[in-house]
């Protein structure tokens, strides 16, 4: 019964989201698109920061790798951008694997500075037109408009549905992941690494896995971003972007999917709402960030303990 209700709620929620653009102008729909992109980026970072407890302030690097993969291949070989989604994920993931391997054992703030460093190195490499393919500070322009079954996506309204679909898929997959052996393993190592290792969990493996998975997802979002903007440049992948993603995760509620969604809504949405305040808008935004953190110190919607059905006790499968 409860499960049934939940399903109805989910369907209603998706339905409500789907008709939202009917009531909004292009600007607000585009704000929603931005929120959506950051929500997914937040969710991907949430795996690393929220679940595995790894202090990553350089997530924009993976986002950038995904975006540039899409942009370069699209402009050079005219492969439709959306086809490149798996490849964007792959390159971002492989990149994460290569850099994370030697540094993953670093603790807390040391890992933090290394991720910042990686983010900066990537940005500087892009600016300096590394390998002659990134277009330097100009970035890459002329990425072709994506199309789905011949329908070319142009307006914010079109992208809204693409991003919505992506968001929903991401939420479901990550929800399952969270409630699995994998998701728990990340939490164990966040709580106490020695105890996790001592309970038979390959902590290095899981740290890497969370990094690679989070990075791949960010890479996919990079692809969507490139498709939406049709032009990308290093300025879209600065340290500030990583900071925003990080704030989304923590402010929303580390480890909590609804929290991250709300975090994205606020972090991306509030500066837009505060546009009325003109030059004071970032000041107000900063104050709001502090205030929200103080009033909800665990984040706005903190993660809740997983629930397990303990009902069928007698099932004799488990042996001791």
């Amino acid at each position: 019964m409860i499960i049934h209700q939940k399903k109805v709620l989910i369907v209603l929620g998706i339905g409500a989201a789907a008709i939202l653009p009917l009531f909004l102008n292009a600007y607000w729909v585009d704000v929603l698109n931005s929120i959506g992109i950051y929500a997914i980026l937040g969710l991907s970072l949430n795996l690393i920061v929220g679940h595995a407890g790894l202090f990553n302030l350089g997530h924009a690097a993976f986002y950038a790798v995904g975006a540039y993969t899409a942009a370069i291949l699209n402009t050079h070989f005219h492969i439709p951008v959306l086809w490149l989604i798996p490849l964007s994920a792959f390159t971002a993931g492989v990149f994460a694997l290569i850099i994370a391997r030697p540094i993953i054992h670093l603790r807390g703030d040391y890992l933090c500075i290394v991720t910042i460093g990686v983010g900066e190195i990537v940005r500087i490499a892009l600016i300096n037109n590394v390998f002659g393919i990134t277009g330097g500070a100009n970035g890459i322009f002329g990425i072709s408009r994506p199309s789905i079954f011949g329908f070319v996506l142009r307006t914010p309204y079109h992208f809204f549905y693409l991003i919505l679909a992506f968001t929903i898929i991401t939420i479901f997959l990550f929800l399952f992941l969270e409630n699995s052996r994998f998701g728990r393993a990340l939490n164990y190592l966040k709580e106490d690494e020695v105890a996790a290792e001592g309970s038979g969990i390959n902590t290095a493996h899981y740290k890497l896995a969370s990094f690679v998975l989070g990075a791949s997802w960010a890479g996919m979002m990079g692809n969507i971003y490139a498709a939406k903007m049709t032009i990308i440049s290093p300025e879209s992948f600065t340290f500030w972007e990583s900071v925003l993603m990080f704030a989304i995760v923590i402010l929303g509620g580390s480890g909590s999917i609804p929290g991250v969604l709300l975090g994205a809504l606020l972090i991306v949405g509030l500066p837009e709402v505060f546009r009325e305040f003109a030059t004071a808008r970032m000041l107000i935004f900063g104050a709001a960030m502090v205030a929200m953190m103080i009033f909800r110190t665990q984040g706005l919607l903190p993660s809740r303990p997983r629930s397990y059905s303990l009902s069928d006790v007698s099932g004799g499968e488990g042996k001791l």
């Binding site: 603790r107 460093g117 900066e120 580390s254 502090v290």
Partner: protein, 301 residues
């Protein structure tokens, strides 16, 4: 070879400023395990406050450059210390018991807030310090041109570092600060007023940041409301490089980072300067995971 030594002095000058800011980071981090991202904006505030006080009170005209600057520094440090204490009270203290990263986000918010406050008060344009305060003497040492001011900057950083180190390591209050850093409850049981200790830390750290801001203003002459971020990031890097929480480490990290940057820029590429610096940092951390002087946390299980 001459180029090498000249670049070395260039690097040392920048490095000592990184070091001075890094000292404040490390100080706060050591006790609260908080990366005070707003530290960089306290630094900016120090620079602006210095300018305001300097021009409105014309201290250097009345007292001469030496005493004028010293008094100015004392005032700036005092005010920024107050700002630091206020910041702690408003933005960090309510988060003392909550997850560490929550405080990081609060710090980021505070940083945005402070940066924009400075912009609204002073405007977005560059502000300029009077140029005639610091001595213009250039020393010729071993065939190198070394402005006297640079030696002063390095000297001030070193003095601050030694002072701080002595205070933390050798005095009763210093030991109390370190104890509070490890276990606040146990520190209370020793009769230590933990809130006062934290307040002290939150005045010392920002005071150092404010001093650095003033120094940058006097030395480089040009200040801007966004200047904190760049310096802040470098100083944080320096603190980590040396081993965060470690005072000589912050000094070493700062100076080293300055030198790495100068050398990377001189012998490899300017455009890649920061990337080179970060790469070296990463390589060092791979070999020494807790920084150059950071304690190996020998965790006993």
């Amino acid at each position: 070879m001459e180029q090498f030594f000249q670049q070395l002095t260039n690097g040392l000058a920048v490095g000592s400023i990184y070091a001075l800011i890094a000292l404040g980071y490390t100080m706060v981090y050591g006790v609260l395990k908080l990366i005070n991202f707003a530290h960089s904006d306290l630094f900016t505030i120090g620079a602006y406050l210095g300018l305001t006080l300097l021009t409105s009170l014309s201290l250097t005209d009345r007292l001469g450059p030496l005493w004028g600057v010293i008094l100015l520094a004392a005032m700036v440090m005092g005010f920024v210390a107050l700002a630091g204490a206020l910041l702690d009270r408003v933005a960090y203290r309510p988060l003392r018991e909550s997850p560490r990263l929550s405080a990081v986000v609060s710090a980021l918010g505070a940083s945005i807030f402070l940066q924009n406050t400075v912009m609204l008060i002073y405007g977005a344009r560059f502000q300029v310090y009077p140029t005639d305060i610091l001595p213009k003497t250039v020393l010729h040492l071993f065939g190198l041109d070394v402005p006297l001011v640079r030696i002063l900057v390095l000297f001030v950083s070193l003095v601050m570092m030694f002072g701080l180190y002595f205070f933390i390591q050798k005095t009763r209050i210093g030991t109390a600060i370190r104890a509070a850093a490890i276990d606040q409850g146990a520190a209370r049981l020793m009769g230590i007023d933990v809130n006062r200790v934290i307040l002290l830390v939150f005045m010392l750290g920002p005071a150092l940041g404010g001093a650095a801001g003033l120094m940058v203003g006097l030395y480089y002459g040009q200040i801007n409301f966004t200047m904190g971020w760049g310096y802040g990031l470098k100083a944080f890097t320096a603190a980590i490089l040396g081993g965060i929480g470690n005072i000589p480490g912050a000094m070493l990290g700062g100076v080293l980072l300055g030198v790495i940057e100068a050398m990377g820029a001189a012998y490899l590429s300017f455009a890649w300067k920061d990337a080179i610096a970060f790469l070296v940092l990463i390589l060092i951390l791979i070999v020494r995971p807790t920084g150059l002087l950071g304690e190996r946390v020998a965790e006993k299980v």
